[in-house]
Symmetry: C2
Subunit: 104 residues, 2 copies
């Protein structure tokens, strides 16, 4: 759990997560959104993987990353509960209705 906050502490990684919210994307596709080198992005992916916030699906020579929303949600929930706060899925807005199945 502590690695989650570490992972969230970098703005590039937070933006990666938000890009992944809409749909899974390949490493190169994600990297195109940032002004940093591929190796740097790869390092960011590794941090996010270590925190279990994303998962990698390798097909051929491309690697597709997808968000593990439930992990993010649970980490946030656990933390906020200690402050009398709650994290829930917002039922009103449904930004990602056909998200791929998540390995929970």
């Amino acid at each position: 759990m502590p690695s989650v906050f570490r992972a969230l502490s970098d703005p590039t990684r937070r933006r990666v997560l938000q890009l992944l919210r809409t749909r899974p994307m390949t490493a190169g596709e994600l990297a195109d959104h940032f002004a940093v080198s591929k190796p740097t992005m790869s390092a960011h992916f590794n941090v996010l993987l270590a925190a279990d916030l994303i998962a990698a699906d390798k097909v051929g020579r491309t690697i597709t990353y997808r968000l593990k929303l439930s992990v993010l949600e649970e980490a946030l929930l656990e933390f906020t509960q200690a402050f009398g706060l709650t994290v829930t899925e917002a039922p009103a807005t449904t930004p990602n209705p056909e998200a791929p199945a998540e390995d929970t």
Copy 2:
């Protein structure tokens, strides 16, 4: 806003916030809960202050720190909303019924 996540990335600082959840505490009082030196704790307080997550009230030679829960809540809310999540105050548990007024 970005400094909030940075501040949350350290376990010591997260624990400080949680200690402050119950009641405001002085710097020394807080420091007693950790196995690090006072100067180190002072540095942590500064990071939390910079992120606006805590406020300092100096009285005499003691400094009392208090949690700014609304700032934490708002930062979390802003971030989670991009993922279709919501952060709310949990009405069931009332851990700090007579908390001092917060400068919102």
